[in-house]
């Protein structure tokens, strides 16, 4: 009896470990989400941009860095991860061009524009007003 229950515990532990290994980490999930929902559409939009614009030419490469592996909480208690997007032209060094955050569960993306954060669709050319309070870590006492 004891032997069968201990084998059950071992098997259960293995199953949990395997499941944990198979599930993407929070960081990997955030990275994939930012790639799919922001960087790829941005690159696609830039392909069709007029070459006679005063806007800067599109960079030759972009990469995303997720800046934390654990969630931070905003004033409403919602969990988010901060991220940064780097860009480079030709063989130049990578330089940080945007920072923002991605919300756990909803996957909502925000980007910093000055001191404010707007929905990341703003980078894709959609009108988006700043959203107060997002991407800002609130002290534990303030969280609701």
């Amino acid at each position: 009896m004891i032997r069968s229950s201990s084998s059950f515990v071992v098997a259960f532990t293995f199953t949990l470990a395997a499941a944990a290994a198979a599930a993407p980490s929070l960081e990997a999930w955030a990275k994939a989400r930012i790639q799919a929902n922001l960087l790829q559409p941005l690159a696609k939009k830039e392909e069709s941009r007029s070459r006679f614009s005063r806007a800067a030419p599109p960079p030759t490469g972009r990469r995303v860095r997720v800046l934390a592996s654990t969630l931070s909480r905003d004033a409403k208690g919602r969990g988010f991860l901060p991220y940064a997007i780097d860009a480079r032209y030709g063989d130049d060094e990578w330089s940080e061009t945007y920072v923002g955050c991605i919300y756990d569960k909803t996957g909502l993306l925000f980007v910093a524009v000055g001191d404010e954060h707007r929905p990341a669709e703003f980078l894709l050319g959609k009108k988006a007003e700043p959203v107060p309070g997002v991407c800002q870590v609130a002290p534990p006492a303030e969280r609701s």
Partner: protein, 221 residues
């Protein structure tokens, strides 16, 4: 021989400017789409006095799209042979340049991409346009058509910076020049070169007005 070369060059200039104007006008439509934000605006925000800046941008683009081709057409012999039309269109162009194009350009220059050096460049260009337009109108009223033509040549030359500057930007992009440096150089070279070219053309004994023909008496008064 020399005159035909000058005529060819001025017609080439007119053609390049006309094509450039079409490209800029098409690229500028995105500034007026109600639910979207143009890449240039995305890049520039945040700015101080955002509403003022956005309004100035739209007014500036719209007035440039209207006044630049008008300046080109006003410089053609075809329109110069029609004084009534030339005068009427000239008044509309002058009013738009002085009341809309230059003031909105000055507002935009305070938040110019590339920093203080680019701000000064846009300021200089705006100052040349304003002084030349006002002086050009005054000289036309005095019937000093040579002076009028010289001043208007400066106005058109500075307005052509919109095309030449973008052309240089494309070239610098292909050459792999750093965008910030490219933006500054691509503004200053056309601003200075246009002023020098206008002055050089004005200094010629019979300078062309995009293949201009008859010599006009210095003063008819």
């Amino acid at each position: 021989m020399r005159n035909s070369r000058v005529q060819l060059a001025s017609r080439g200039f007119l053609l390049v400017m006309a094509l450039g104007w079409v490209a800029i006008a098409l690229a500028s439509l995105e500034y007026f789409e109600p639910d979207s934000v143009a890449p240039f605006v995305v890049e520039r925000l945040p700015v101080r006095f955002e509403s003022l800046w956005l309004g100035a941008l739209q007014w500036h683009v719209a007035s440039a799209i209207v006044t630049f081709p008008l300046c080109l057409v006003l410089g053609t012999p075809w329109l110069q042979r029609r004084p009534v039309w030339h005068r009427s269109l000239g008044r509309v162009t002058g009013a738009l340049v002085v009341a809309v194009l230059v003031p909105s350009g000055i507002v935009l220059s305070f938040e110019a991409k590339g920093g203080a050096l680019v701000t000064v460049g846009f300021f200089l260009s705006a100052a040349v346009v304003l002084v030349a337009m006002v002086s050009g109108v005054a000289s036309a009223r005095r019937r000093d058509f040579l002076a009028h033509k010289r001043h208007m040549l400066h106005v058109t030359a500075q307005m052509s910076v919109a095309v030449t500057s973008r052309g240089l930007l494309r070239g610098f992009d292909m050459a792999g020049l750093e965008p910030e440096v490219a933006y500054t150089v691509a503004l200053w070279i056309p601003v200075v070169a246009s002023a020098l070219a206008a002055e050089w053309l004005a200094g010629r004994r019979a300078f062309p007005s995009f293949a201009f023909t008859p010599s006009v008496p210095r003063s008819l008064s």
